[in-house]
Symmetry: C2
Subunit: 276 residues, 2 copies
Amino acid sequence: MTFIDKLRNRWHAANSLLCVGLDPDPAKFPDRFVDDEDALFAFCRDIADATAEYACAFKPQIAYFAAHNHGEAALQRLIAHINGAHPEVPVILDAKRGDIGSTAEQYAAEAFERFGADAVTLNPYMGRDSAAPFLQYNDHGCVFLCHTSNPGARDFQELPVPDGSGGSEPLYQRIARTIADDWNGDGNCALVVGATFPEELKVIRDIIGDMPLLIPGVGAQGGDVEAVVRNGRTADGTGLMINSSRGILYASRGEGYAEAAADAARELRDAINRHR
Amino acid sequence: MTFIDKLRNRWHAANSLLCVGLDPDPAKFPDRFVDDEDALFAFCRDIADATAEYACAFKPQIAYFAAHNHGEAALQRLIAHINGAHPEVPVILDAKRGDIGSTAEQYAAEAFERFGADAVTLNPYMGRDSAAPFLQYNDHGCVFLCHTSNPGARDFQELPVPDGSGGSEPLYQRIARTIADDWNGDGNCALVVGATFPEELKVIRDIIGDMPLLIPGVGAQGGDVEAVVRNGRTADGTGLMINSSRGILYASRGEGYAEAAADAARELRDAINRHR
């Protein structure tokens, strides 16, 4: 099954637009993981098992693994665990890769073959040929940065560029249009648009049709759930993967950390659903 | 010693503007490495040892390690070997990272602490706060993508954006100006500019003053050495790290692979020096 089909099935089966971000920071782990050498894997596995029923996708952030020796082995085991225990929940590897074609082939092998992810986040700055080696895995998803959730999104992403009909549009809209019209020939693309810019979400939705959107920035980064759902959803009330990481992962440091994560995930799923 | 000081010293001491790219592709390895489980490390070590005297920098490309199980351990050992055996040659980890601040902190730890690189390549698309965690390591180098060597560089990097004085300039020049004027406060920035666009090199050099440039795209990608040196050098005939990977690494598949790599490196260094 393709990433996109798996995601669509999951939106309906779990009645959820919630993406659970797996960004393991040992400094914030529950007390029981102090001195646990397997903590990166064990903590994320517990969170995944507790939240899977509320999740339309999982999104492990590779940087939080790559900062540690042997972190990649923990990430590999985590994705293998999710693929085995929760095969209906797609895994998006958050890696924001982007490089020339011969190097991009290696990164595609990293994400899809070594780590077994269903999709990967990518940076579009280097253009079409840097995306091609990922796009060729047409049963996998390619989730391109468009308008990110951080303050620096204003520095370059919002610069006005020609829109092709004599006017101008922000760079991120030009990128959305290029991906929708050109790169998405096999229907395996999605975009990252931050929850912190909800008005712009509506414009992007108009440009891209039903393409899925991965939405970071709800919770710790301040994005407004209602505005995100209202402006970002498709006509059938799906089309979104609204990510929360810290608010779910670190809901409690006590022995009840997994139940607290499940509660936080269920509450956010339900809050999202109230506006669909 | 800072990355920039180490690089400046090396330009003069080795009389070289050549950066040796370490992109290990097992399919192209010399015959003796067939079935060698330690080949990623051992091949790159041999190339580094053979070419160090002609190199102003080494640039391992992390994707070629990350595509393989245990590849990171090989990369760690390689950089540790270079830092031990050739401490005068700076190591630039080619990773093109870029993410929000909390994630960028993890990536900075990956490049500078876990792998021990002197500098790392970064993607500027997410803006100032995505660069800040790297810039704060102000003895390390931050090498930002500006105008890359691949055909897709035209897709977004060349789009016209306002230049701040009523006119327009290509996005990559706006990025060069922003980094030179704002991000480079500690003097630890450099830019990636492809050898395949030599005319644009002169414009970028005028924008950035003496900031170092990492130049991929000579050799396999078709860049012209003379035009690169003429247009990209600083007034003292330095300022460039002209990268070659495939042309040096895979100069021979036979038993003389290391000598062949050394010959290729020396010849390219000398070809560069003829135009300084």
